[in-house]
């Protein structure tokens, strides 16, 4: 567990740096879609929710909490991606008018 934990921390630190690099290149005109899009990505917690809701043997409370987590995370994922798509569909450049 100890060594695996260190690897996870390693992935965490590298991803933070990668995130800084990626996001600082996003122009300010796209900041709202960036927020709603990254919001949808933070719905990745759905993976943990699915495991919690689907696991056998944790008792009813664990399943209930997991199911609620699945519902909330799915709202976040589905709503986030759809609204970002809707927004970005509105960004047009001159020739396309």
């Amino acid at each position: 567990m100890g060594e695996y934990m260190v690897l996870l921390v390693f992935a965490f630190v590298l991803s933070i740096f990668l995130g800084f690099e990626l996001i600082s290149k996003v122009p300010s005109q796209l900041h709202t879609p960036l927020m709603s899009g990254s919001n949808a990505i933070s719905g990745i917690t759905i993976v943990g929710a699915l495991i919690a809701a689907g696991e056998v043997g944790g008792g009813w409370l664990s399943v209930l909490l997991g199911t609620l987590a699945v519902a909330f995370a799915t709202i976040n994922v589905v709503g986030g991606y759809l609204v970002t798509d809707r927004m970005l569909g509105m960004f047009k450049h001159k020739e396309g008018r």
Partner: protein
């Protein structure tokens, strides 16, 4: 199967990264979002391939959540994007909290003991997730007008917040060291996280909301990250930290655009706290009729629109675009100058103007428009106030002194579309209204612009 699932998680992470990378240009952004969503689909499907799962509750949760999410996403008007994003942020936060709690519950039932490698991230997921949830709900309430947007301050507020935070950490230590026997401490952490989220958000005024939702955006990512440590899952950690980094960058940009530190935004209750009183702006504002404004616009060679939150409230973006097109047809060069904190979230104005079919080449950032403003014939300020307030440049006692602004007062003529002489969200007087070259076009922004459009149409 296990390593296949892990490989799928790597693919998902790569797709998230590619998706964010494609957001760096408006041309590729939509495809980027699609790629990112495919990554999410892969991650979900891979997780469902884990052996020995029961699916009935998963399906129920996904159907309910998917339905709500889809309906909300289709229905929400673009003007309400800030509160929509705040609300969804909160859902991400509560989901991470619930994941932490469920894993704790399961650990108690099935494991002989819960190690610190699990209990510590559970604590973090619950604390950050809970703060994100209630903080976002308060932000949602303020942005949607369901709660008063004014900062709520009381005596000893920072002391109370600090004490509660210390209490949460103390309970955290108790819980993390011995999670098997400290359920009460755990429940205390959940409750405290909710209280802290509320307390941290209520002292922040409506105009500072761009900072707050950026910060909460970051928290929702970090909460997902913590949940990733709980279940030892790389894809949660990678994507959670990408979002965390994104929120931090946006927060920094917003703070810079207001020339304030993050601590100042979070704790000062801007606009409510006194500070030194600045000299009240002197003079008389000169009103102008729509007809006279039209004659000026008709002769103008270059026009710059400066939209603010008021344009969103009045839903004036479509008629503004119509006026812009008529001006172009009339031979004028038309630009839209966007201040980084115009509106209630980063990039809010860009989305509204995009909705109204303004091509994005016409949108100009503050630093690019300012050098050209002295040569601009007419600057039209629509529902913006603090972001064009020259007191930020000239009056050292002004609370917004030092904030970078769009220098509309340097244009040959400035039209300010405004309901009344009331001050902006920050409650600061605006000497712009009394400048020699400024004219006030009073009334509802949408109605005023519509009048101008009608004037233009009547000469055809």
């Amino acid at each position: 199967m296990g390593s296949l699932i892990q490989l799928a998680y790597i693919v998902a992470s790569v797709l998230f990264i590619l998706g964010l990378k494609m957001l760096s240009s408006a041309r590729t952004a939509r495809r980027g979002n699609l790629i990112s969503s495919i990554g999410m689909l892969i991650a979900v499907v891979a997780t469902l391939c884990n052996g020995g799962m029961q699916y009935q509750w998963i399906i129920a949760g996904m159907l309910v959540g998917g339905g709500i999410g889809a309906i909300a996403a289709v229905r929400v008007p673009m003007t309400s994007m800030p509160e929509f994003v705040a609300l969804f942020n909160g859902f991400g936060g509560i989901a991470s909290l619930l994941v932490g709690w469920a894993e704790y519950q399961r650990g108690l039932a099935t494991e002989p003991s819960i190690g610190i490698g699990v209990s510590l991230p559970i604590f973090l997921a619950v604390l950050i997730g809970g703060v994100t949830f209630t903080g976002s709900m308060v932000a949602y309430g303020k942005l949607s007008g369901k709660l008063n947007g004014k900062p709520i301050l009381f005596k000893g507020q920072q002391f109370a917040n600090g004490a509660l935070m210390l209490l949460a950490v103390a309970l955290g230590v108790v819980y993390v060291v011995n999670p098997e026997a400290t359920y009460a401490a755990f429940i205390g952490i959940v409750a405290l996280s909710f209280v802290l989220g509320v307390l941290a958000t209520i002292p922040i005024g409506g105009a500072d909301m761009p900072v707050v939702i950026s910060l909460l955006n970051s928290y929702s990512g970090l909460a997902a990250c913590a949940a990733g440590f709980v279940i030892g899952n790389t894809v949660l950690i990678v994507s959670g930290s990408l979002v965390g980094a994104s929120g931090i960058i946006l927060t920094t940009i917003m703070c810079k655009a207001m020339n304030r530190s993050l601590t100042n935004v979070l704790f000062s209750g801007f606009g409510a706290a006194g500070g030194s009183v600045s000299a009240a702006a002197q003079g008389e504002a000169k009103p102008i009729s729509a007809e006279d404004a039209f004659y000026v616009l008709e002769a103008a060679q270059s026009v710059v629109f400066v939209p603010g939150y008021g344009m969103a409230v009045a839903q004036a973006q479509h008629v503004v675009r119509e006026l812009g097109e008529l001006l172009e047809k009339n031979g004028a060069e038309v630009k839209y100058a966007i201040h980084p904190v115009a509106g209630r979230m980063p990039g809010h104005m860009n989305v509204l103007l995009a909705e109204a079919n303004v091509p994005y080449e016409q949108l100009v950032e503050m630093d690019d428009i300012n050098p050209h403003l002295p040569t601009v014939d007419v600057a039209m300020v629509i529902g913006a106030n603090d972001v064009v307030n020259p007191a930020a440049r000239e009056d050292e006692n002004s609370p917004i002194y030092g904030m970078p602004i769009i220098n509309v007062d340097e244009a040959k003529t400035v039209f300010i579309l405004k309901r009344s002489m009331a001050s902006g969200f920050a409650g600061v007087d605006n000497p712009l209204f009394f400048k020699e070259n400024a004219r006030m076009l009073f009334g509802d922004a949408k109605a005023s612009v519509q009048e101008l459009v009608n004037e233009f149409k009547s000469i055809d």
